[in-house]
């Protein structure tokens, strides 16, 4: 094992897959000459050239379409959205083409394309640039949705995503890019399968589920709760579609309590889906209602004091856990 940051992990996955398979190419805004808006693709143009690392104009709908159409006939494009916020203008391509062509063509055309980029709030970029887009995409059959929280998962899942024959939504995080973690040594290949949650920390009192940035919030909350003698089992689903709810259900059968932490709004999405699955499959085991800590139901304000109240915080997670244990905060 060696330690690298999340940004490097994402890049390593792309570089390794592009070296392995000529059909893999990368396109997006500023991915080449500029070296990536968040430096994720740094050095890739120099390594692979303009044929395979393609700078696009600002045309998300258009280049998402190009990626899908190229995938139909055998390429395996990685399409970078500068941030997932801008995927909204390409939403129709993903919903109506990427996710549907395999089925609508009766299985004749596959769409092995990966859409990737940073998801969720960064810092003080206000309402239009702070979306967690996962609830929109997890709703769509025909897609895989990955939301890795650690460098190791980012690398292993992205490699799997590139090799998958279906369209993959790959959600990174601007605030995650600098996060460090262990990954397998160079030359040791790790492909992380979709639909397998990771138990980040075992515990006995409450099950905490989180992915993306809130995963780190949940881990901090667990650490702080441990000091008060409360033991949390922390589960990172890693992929939201397919969603490994069984690992969560099994954990809840042991802890009898569950708190889900997520960055998207309350209405719908993976958080709500997990609540539904847990109550259906572990109803008799629950000692408290399943609680969620999530973004407040407002557009993201610019003012930092308010932004901090909108996003899930360690304090809110700690409070929610205590509520499920019926202990005073």
């Amino acid at each position: 094992m060696r330690e690298i940051n999340y940004r490097t992990a994402v890049r390593e996955a792309m570089v390794e897959e592009m070296m392995r398979d000529e059909r893999v190419c990368l396109m997006g805004e500023e991915v080449g000459h500029y070296q990536g808006a968040y430096k994720v693709t740094e050095g890739m143009l120099e390594k692979f050239g303009e044929r395979r690392v393609v700078d696009t104009p600002i045309a998300e709908f258009g280049f998402a379409g190009v990626g899908i159409g190229a995938a139909m006939v055998g390429l395996r494009p990685i399409v970078e959205f500068m941030t997932w916020n801008f995927s909204a203008v390409a939403f129709d391509q993903i919903l109506n083409n990427a996710a549907k062509l395999y089925q609508m063509s009766g299985g004749q055309y596959r769409v092995p394309v990966v859409f990737r980029g940073p998801n969720g709030a960064a810092r003080q970029v206000a309402a239009q640039h702070s979306h967690s887009m996962d609830p929109f995409y997890v709703n769509i059959p025909g897609l895989h949705v990955c939301a890795p929280s650690t460098p190791r998962d980012a690398k292993g899942l992205l490699k799997t995503a590139i090799r998958d024959d279906n369209p993959v939504i790959f959600l990174e995080g601007e605030t995650l890019y600098a996060v460090k973690g262990e990954v397998p040594d160079e030359g040791v290949e790790e492909l992380i399968p979709f639909g397998q949650a990771r138990i980040a920390q075992e515990g006995t009192d409450v099950t905490l589920v989180a992915w993306g940035r809130p995963y780190h919030t949940a881990m901090q909350a667990a650490e702080s709760l441990a000091k008060e003698g409360i033991s949390c089992e922390v589960i990172d689903p890693r992929t939201l579609r397919p969603l490994d709810h069984r690992t969560v259900v099994e954990s809840v059968k042991k802890t009898n309590r569950c708190v889900i932490v997520h960055e998207h709004w309350e209405h719908g999405g993976t958080g709500a889906q997990l609540v539904d699955l847990v109550q259906r499959e572990a109803f008799d085991y629950l000692d408290a209602p399943v609680l969620r800590v999530h973004n407040q139901d407002v557009s993201m304000p610019y003012a930092v004091n308010l932004e901090n109240t909108v996003l899930p915080t360690v304090e809110r997670v700690v409070d929610a856990v205590k509520k499920t244990l019926y202990v005073a905060s």
Binding site: C25, G69, V89, Q108
Partner: protein
């Protein structure tokens, strides 16, 4: 027009047969629709047959084709069997898309036909994809992309052409200007009714042609296709045409007069091709023989579609996600 300048007799015979097949196929589809055997939308291509066949006449089998929901003509023209096409309309598992696409979503991978797209303009961006792939892999295959006059107003149209022009992709953008988008005439949708002029804005060649004579369409498509194959980039072709039927089966067509439609029918592309063949001294009996074969093919397709089974639920669930690495079409 002279034989020497344009298509040879055999070529025109082949095109005529296909155009007559499209015509008769769709007339029977309309009948089946009225009988409730076909559901949903059914957008007929009747009146526009020469556009698809003129383009297809200049294409190689390994070239790609992407079009709109008005897709039966292209599907049959590119080589889909009448059986697979009709069975798809009937929602049967023997259809080209196994009954999952229907009228608007015909696909035929062996014939490099990439659909059959229902969102106006979105496929113009998608179509730049196969062209991107051809260039990336160093292949000299071209992509043919059809869309309507109405599609020129939406972003997907613009972004697709803009990217293809920038990257000099081997693709032909064809605006089938049939004068209407649904019930709205171009006078109320387009500030610039000469759509071909948009090419200038993308710095690619563009021109306008009439779409009722398949010989002329074929002639005008040759050079743009050769140009794309040479790696010199896209061309924008506006083809002026007319649909004789409503936008779809549910359209009574109250936005245009019967006189207007009758006037346009004087330039029926199927009849023009037939007359041209007679002028080329093809015997009436020979044409009658071809016509009879087409009638047989269409009747057989209807019977086949009728007798086929619908898809089952297990197939439905297996078609949501592909099993990686197990592509039976590869």
């Amino acid at each position: 027009m002279e034989d020497s300048l344009l298509l040879k007799k055999d070529e025109l015979l082949t095109l005529y047969k296909k155009m007559f097949l499209i015509r008769r196929f769709e007339e029977e589809a309309a009948r089946a629709y009225a009988q409730g055997k076909i559901g949903g939308f059914l957008h007929l291509y009747i009146g526009q047959e020469a556009v698809a066949m003129g383009a297809i006449a200049c294409m190689r089998p390994d070239d790609y084709f992407v079009t709109t929901y008005r897709d039966h003509g292209v599907a049959l023209g590119r080589g889909m069997t009448a059986r697979a096409c009709m069975a798809e309309l009937f929602g049967k598992v023997t259809g080209c898309s196994k009954g999952f696409g229907g009228s608007m979503h015909m696909f035929d991978r062996p014939n490099n036909f990439l659909g059959g797209h229902g969102i106006v303009g979105a496929h113009v961006s998608l179509a730049a994809g196969p062209a991107f792939k051809a260039k990336y892999m160093g292949e000299d295959r071209i992509t043919m992309c059809f869309f309507g006059d109405g599609a020129t107003n939406i972003g997907g149209f613009h972004e697709g052409i803009s990217l293809a022009a920038l990257w000099k992709l081997p693709i032909i953008f064809v605006c089938e200007n049939n004068q209407y988008s649904m019930g709205t005439p171009i006078s109320r949708t387009a500030a610039q009714p000469e759509f071909w002029k948009k090419a200038e804005g993308y710095n690619i060649p563009g021109f306008r042609i009439d779409g009722h004579d398949v010989r002329e369409v074929a002639e005008k498509f040759k050079e743009p296709i050769a140009r794309a194959r040479r790696g010199e980039g896209p061309t924008f072709i506006e083809v002026v045409t007319y649909r004789y039927r409503g936008h779809s089966m549910s359209d009574p067509g109250k936005y245009r007069t019967a006189a207007e439609v009758e006037e346009r029918k004087k330039q029926d592309p199927v009849r023009i091709a037939r007359d041209a063949l007679l002028e080329m001294k093809v015997k009436e009996e020979e044409l009658a023989k071809i016509d009879a074969l087409v009638e047989e093919e269409v009747a057989d397709a209807v019977k086949f579609a009728d007798e086929s089974d619908p898809p089952d639920e297990a197939l439905m669930h297996s078609l949501t996600l592909a099993k990686t690495g197990e592509d039976p079409y590869a």
